[in-house]
Point group: C2
Chain length 478, copies 2
């Protein structure tokens, strides 16, 4: 049974910390980007080193007070906001923002949890390397949260998810013990892979305080193109042909639906659109190739092959890095345009690549049975990851459809599940999707997750309510 984070506990905790490590929660700590949920907290703890994090968790463990780890606050599934249950202590890592070590010759960098992603990217660039994790919120998202949620983004096709960029971790467990696992090794088969268990556990198994991150060489030659494709199936065919030509040289392969371009024209006219008439479907292809290759020629050759095969009908190759950046601005502006329009329901789904065309064909008519909507389907096609967002038709707004949200979600998620997909591709489970875990999760996996949670956090103080659906039994053992 958990207790509230009250003044008694805070007084006790303050004794084991230096001055000024505890403060009242400013509003920004209690909000989440989509404004649906509002969190509560008895206080915000701002530790400056791993020993202070350990002291905080030791005290919370002893007092059975819930702790909600907080990073940049950019999570989209409510993992950072506890809106019910006992009042928690909010643990923000923002003051642990040092880059501890940089090893260019090893392509390794060690960053603390509070580092902003953009700063880590910058530190890598300073030594001529690339930290490939890249997503819309990189200006405020923090490494700790990005790793705890195994963030995805636009370079997963080439470099993998966040977990694939981590060589080692420093983690404080629920009872305050510290696992010193900041290795700089590419290969280490000494025991269970605790690292991957912590990555993606959304702060429910331990608190990541620092990570040993793998950097990549900066691609010698870069290039990008926008190509108008006949359909999502044509886009997949084009991807396969691109992979046959360039292999891992493809840094990103993004699908952009026509609706997103209409939304941009409607709400962000300052964003330049590449084609006079917005096409139904286009792809953004980003290449990073070795010394001695010519990305533009390579993209031209791909376009010709696609054109002859009837897959692409038009296209533009970036004439400069500035134009390449413009292509990416277009892509990255779509989520903002979506916010201006106001989605009724947003879905972060993944599917086996070959199922994607069938999903897009079937989902529209299924939803039309509920009501008339505008659908903006876009995302990381190369990863099989679509952002499938449902909007009101012109003249109506999301409020008119509030009572349809549950039905829309079930409709989309049931179809995804039936096709072997995932209802949370890159955003995680947080608190918004625990019911989906119960509905769609493998029951044996769920039982194993509960057993692991119980083994590593027997008192359940770490981010309670996140990831795991409510337990049928209180015990949590298998």
């Amino acid at each position: 049974m958990l207790r509230d984070c009250n003044s008694d506990f805070l007084d006790h905790l303050a004794e084991s910390l230096p001055e000024g490590r505890l403060c009242a929660p400013a509003p920004r700590y209690l909000e989440e980007p989509r404004g649906r949920w509002h969190g509560r907290a008895g206080a915000v703890a701002l530790p400056r080193n791993v020993e202070e994090v350990a002291a905080i968790l030791r005290a919370a463990h002893e007092a059975r007070v819930a702790v909600v780890p907080f990073g940049g606050g950019t999570g989209l599934v409510g993992g950072q906001v506890a809106s019910d249950g006992p009042v928690p202590l909010l643990l923000s890592l923002e003051k642990m923002a040092a880059i501890r070590e940089v090893h260019p010759s090893e392509n390794v960098l060690i960053a603390e949890a509070g580092c902003i992603l953009a700063d880590v990217q910058g530190a890598a660039e300073e030594v001529g390397r690339l930290f490939p994790l890249s997503l819309a919120s990189e200006g405020s998202a923090q490494i700790g949260g990005l790793l705890a949620t195994n963030a995805g983004g636009v370079n997963v096709l080439r470099y993998g998810n966040a977990r694939d960029l981590v060589l080692g971790l420093e983690v404080v467990l629920a009872d305050g013990r510290v696992w010193h696992g900041l290795k700089r090794l590419r290969k280490d088969n000494t025991g269970y892979e605790l690292r991957h268990l912590m990555l993606g556990s959304e702060g429910t198994l331990g608190v990541i305080t620092a990570a040993s991150l793998r950097l990549a060489p900066r691609p010698a030659k870069q290039g990008a193109a926008l190509m108008v494709v006949e359909s999502p199936a044509a886009a997949l065919d084009l991807l396969a042909r691109a992979q046959a030509r360039f292999g891992e040289g493809i840094s990103a392969f993004e699908l952009i639906g026509g609706m997103g371009l209409h939304f941009l024209a409607e709400t962000m006219p300052q964003v330049r659109l590449p084609f006079e008439a917005p096409p139904d479907w286009m792809v953004l292809i980003d290449l990073g190739l070795p010394e001695g290759s010519a990305p533009d020629g390579a993209l031209e050759a791909l376009f010709e092959e696609g054109f002859e095969a009837g897959l692409v009908s038009d296209g533009v190759i970036a004439a400069s890095l500035a134009q390449r950046a413009e292509f990416w601005t277009l892509r990255e502006s779509i989520p903002e345009a979506n916010r201006h329009i106001g989605a009724i329901s947003s879905h972060d789904i993944s599917l086996p690549l070959s199922e994607i065309p069938a999903f897009i064909v079937q989902a529209g008519p299924e939803l039309a049975r509920i009501n008339r909507y505008r659908i903006n389907c876009f995302g990381h096609l190369g990863d099989g990851n679509l952002h499938y967002n449902v909007f009101p038709v012109l003249g109506r707004n999301r409020a008119d459809h509030e009572d349809e949200r549950a039905a829309i979600k079930t409709c989309v998620h049931d179809l995804v599940y039936a096709m072997g997909g995932s209802v949370s591709a890159e955003h995680g489970i947080g608190r918004f999707k625990t019911a989906d875990m119960q509905r769609y999760g493998d029951p044996v996996k769920l039982a194993a997750m509960r057993a692991i949670k119980h083994a590593l956090d027997p008192r359940g103080i770490l981010n309670p309510g996140a990831v795991l659906p409510e337990e049928p039994s209180a015990k949590g053992e298998m």
Copy 2:
């Protein structure tokens, strides 16, 4: 407390299985490649599908009988041989050797645990794809064992370890429940990463019965070169320059010490050596580049850069795929030559890349304090993974040094540990290295491992004695 796998248990088990699933253990099931340990087993179970595996584990769990999962039997750390403790049931997956599905357009293949690695490589090649896992024992090693031990091999630099090639798993837990996790998704953030916990757990947390494997596009252009380098430091400098030029285009970057070439000349004269006088150090560089590139020219340019920088003094670029294969035969023959000579002590170590030269400089003199030896140092330099093997000087043999083995091991491992390295880079812990886990492992990680083991296998029937050092307490909770 575990019980022996006796006739009572086997009679009971036989009732829940079809005819002919149980047999007496042939010698090959009780041996390990280095012939140091000899295993025992009450019987060998040969299930043909996941339901039969589940029935076997259910029965073993109820009867508290130990189960040792068995793949190709090629493991080098004794994970497959139980030489003491209660007599176990040996569970061989060899009859589950189907390739269930191939999805070329998704770069995915689903294989059962008993598939031989070479057969999976072949199935990928048939559809114009590459399954990148490649190592010396690929002709007999099985997928289940390769994944349970997170095998490494020669392509880790480009494609990652075995775990990085797995999208989903089908696993039978200790009590016979089946986790159906054979997903074909690149992104799936729904709950804890059970997949990575099972991968590398060496059969102590569950039995992998099938895996969804990621394939890669076959590189459009391939090339390879052998280059004579001045030193390991020069080899690392050359690697950094190669990465700046070719990025992930480098498939392998192998270090070969002069001693290995002497051993080849001494024991395998049929293997052609590329240089008249065996150099002290050389590297094998393997490139896989996109369409439109010229690997030979690229390697020439790299050689010239390295030559001008005083890093390389001689080199040969493969004039054909046949010559490239010859280079690899040379590399792959070194372990066999080592066996002919007879190592006193073999070490599978990894280090932070920048520490490798210092390690090689220091390890020799440290060992010389024990006795005079010949050292063959070679391996996957790009991964920071060295095979550091110690041999008698000419005229003596390993038997003369038997009593020095422990001191040699401690000397090498202490130095590795002091430099932030791992004493098991790709071979795992098995039974031979549990004492090293105790000596060098992080105590908090060890406690967490025990808690997880206890949570998922409360009766401890899965591969007892492997991976985890003997427990101080019987309980295994944190």
